[in-house]
């Protein structure tokens, strides 16, 4: 069953602040970028104002990502009790380790819960659960 929303219940919007605005602006354009410290060559997630490695505040840059990764862990939302009312259960939240090394969560849009496994190759895709909201998501990818 692909990811399905329940009409009429708004999806919670990402919280956009000055640190992560470039990320969500890029998602709006269907581009996937990650934050990196150009001095240390270290990527971070979530975005932040200072590199925790070298404490530089002006070496942080946004770099296009390959958009490819592997499922690192996942949770199947199987009961109403824990699920968000605006999404049809069962739905899957995957934690994906990107090729750049950072890990992000999203839904997998095109897989049954029992198809998902740790190590599964996935890539970024985009969807629009409601007017004016674009999210990055993950879909299956041939390894």
């Amino acid at each position: 069953m692909p990811l399905e929303y329940i009409p009429g219940i708004p999806i919670l919007r990402p919280y956009v602040d000055p640190d992560n605005q470039p990320f969500w602006d890029a998602v709006d354009r269907h581009e996937f970028v990650l934050q990196r410290c150009s001095d240390c060559d270290v990527y971070f997630q979530p975005p932040r104002p200072m590199c925790p490695h070298c404490l530089s505040m002006d070496s942080l840059e946004w770099v296009p990502s390959s958009g490819r990764g592997e499922v690192y862990s996942f949770v199947v939302f199987a009961a109403d009790r824990m699920a968000y009312p605006g999404m049809k259960i069962p739905y899957v939240v995957v934690l994906v380790e990107m090729e750049e090394g950072v890990r992000l969560t999203a839904n997998i849009v095109d897989a049954e819960p029992d198809e998902v496994y740790i190590g599964m190759p996935v890539e970024v895709t985009y969807n629009s659960p409601m007017e004016g909201l674009t999210l990055y998501q993950f879909k299956k990818r041939a390894s």
């Binding site: 999806i11 919670l12 919007r13 990402p14 919280y15 956009v16 602040d17 640190d19 992560n20 240390c40 060559d41 270290v42 990527y43 971070f44 997630q45 979530p46 932040r48 925790p52 490695h53 690192y72 862990s73 996942f74 949770v75 199947v76 939302f77 199987a78 009961a79 009790r81 824990m82 699920a83 968000y84 009312p85 605006g86 999404m87 739905y91 939240v93 934690l95 090729e99 750049e100 090394g101 950072v102 890990r103 992000l104 969560t105 999203a106 839904n107 819960p113 740790i118 659960p129 909201l133 999210l135």
Partner: protein, 411 residues
């Protein structure tokens, strides 16, 4: 990618700090009073009311008058406003108040901060408390509760989780649990004994929510998946209620009504890249480094090791949350905790490590871990419903998977 690995691992579990020069808490402070309300699924009362009752009972248990109390210690998460509470307690000129962050991760830190206050002379008698209507009222553990929370208090990382229907602490914990099961080859069919033994403990504890409701291993495996891999009976029990403890110096404790329960060690830890249950960019997702740090610190301060601990009260928001702590605290090796709990004998009252002897957060009540501290005190006083014979030392921990805290208590 290589640099990222280096950054992530350079300090991971390698930054145990040198001992403080002079520890004024160790053996110089004590818990002298405990109090609690009825634990229920619907108190029909507000949280202020519950807090008042638990505090009144703890103060009376310590043989004190309310006017003797000169300090109050709360969790920032508590919904009772502190000035309103002080007004209701009728304490004139309260001279020490403080609040601890990190929800259930702060439970033991309440006692640590209170101990720091009495040891330093900031106050003489400090009350620590937690009151919540988690079952009937504001369900912060539920999806809709967090939706409300997001409106009020968005933080840096939640924006990456909530749009995906990824909300509620249990499901965040399910993510690291899944990874841990994968890395250690844990099979779902081998789990469940932790929940069964805690339910056994609750059968002797009339205060427990699950008193009179035993659970078999078969019933455990038939219980529905909530956030796979977590089943219903892996999860803690939403509770209405409150609990409180009174902390003072060891010198004063000697002349008070109950056997003093001394604080042999107290610690907090917040490792890098740690979020509230969603620390998915730490080098290792399948582990609880905050609990490991707290354990190392507690053992060093107290001079005790895992083998010296008579009874453990480990914070269990869900079964694996407590079980993985067994590994981090050295009671068993990495990936061995399910084996350790298999059949339940090792964690029963006459076992190698009696664990969460009141029924814990799974089967007694979910008072954010403050009820684990009161149970440790009862064990060391010798007044527990499931009394461990000659218990002299107890370890207590707070919420895992977030900045956390812990205590070693002794007679």
């Amino acid at each position: 990618m290589q640099m990222l690995e280096e950054y992530r691992t350079k300090s991971y579990r390698q930054h145990l700090r040198p001992p403080v020069e002079e520890n004024l808490i160790r053996d110089k402070t004590a818990i002298v009073g405990i109090g609690q309300t009825e634990y229920s699924r619907d108190s029909g009362r507000d949280e202020l009311d519950l807090a008042c009752e638990a505090i009144k009972k703890a103060v009376a248990d310590a043989g004190l008058k309310m006017s003797d109390i000169d300090g109050l210690e709360a969790l920032t998460l508590d919904r009772v406003s502190m000035p309103t509470l002080i007004g209701s307690l009728g304490i004139e000129n309260l001279r020490f108040t403080s609040e601890v962050s990190f929800g259930g991760g702060g439970a033991c830190a309440l006692v640590m901060h209170a101990a720091a206050a009495v040891a330093s002379g900031a106050a003489d008698y400090v009350v620590c408390y937690r009151a919540l209507n988690e079952a009937s009222g504001h369900r912060y553990g539920r999806g809709d509760g967090y939706a409300e929370y997001l409106k009020a208090a968005p933080t840096l990382h939640y924006g990456y989780y909530f749009p995906y229907g990824f909300l509620t602490p249990l499901s965040w914990a399910a993510m690291y649990t899944k990874r841990w099961m994968h890395e250690y080859g844990i099979k779902l069919e081998d789990t469940g004994w932790y929940s069964v033994v805690l339910r056994e403990y609750a059968q002797n504890n009339p205060e427990a929510i699950f008193y009179g409701k035993p659970l078999t291993i078969e019933e455990f495996h038939e219980s529905p998946m909530i956030s796979a891999p977590l089943r219903l009976f892996d999860c803690c029990v939403d509770t209405d209620g409150a609990a409180a403890v009174v902390v003072t110096t060891a010198d004063r404790a000697k002349d008070m009504p109950h056997t003093p329960v001394y604080i042999a060690a107290a610690a907090q830890s917040s490792p890098i890249e740690t979020e509230i249950q969603t620390s998915y960019n730490r080098p290792v997702v399948a582990g609880l480094p905050e609990t490991w740090y707290v354990g190392q610190e507690l053992y060093r301060q107290s001079g005790l090791g895992p083998a010296d601990i008579d009874v453990a009260q480990l914070y269990d928001p869900f079964s694996y949350g407590a079980m993985i702590q067994l590994e981090e605290l050295g009671f068993c090796g990495p990936g061995e905790c399910v084996d350790f709990c298999q059949g339940g004998d090792r964690i029963r009252v006459d076992g190698e490590l009696p664990l969460n002897t009141s029924g814990g957060l799974l089967s007694e009540a979910y008072i954010h871990g403050v009820n684990l501290i009161t149970e440790a005190v009862r064990q060391l006083r010798g007044t527990a419903h499931n009394q461990v014979t000659d218990a002299e030392t107890a370890i207590v921990t707070a919420g895992p998977g977030l900045p956390t805290s812990g205590l070693i208590l002794r007679k």
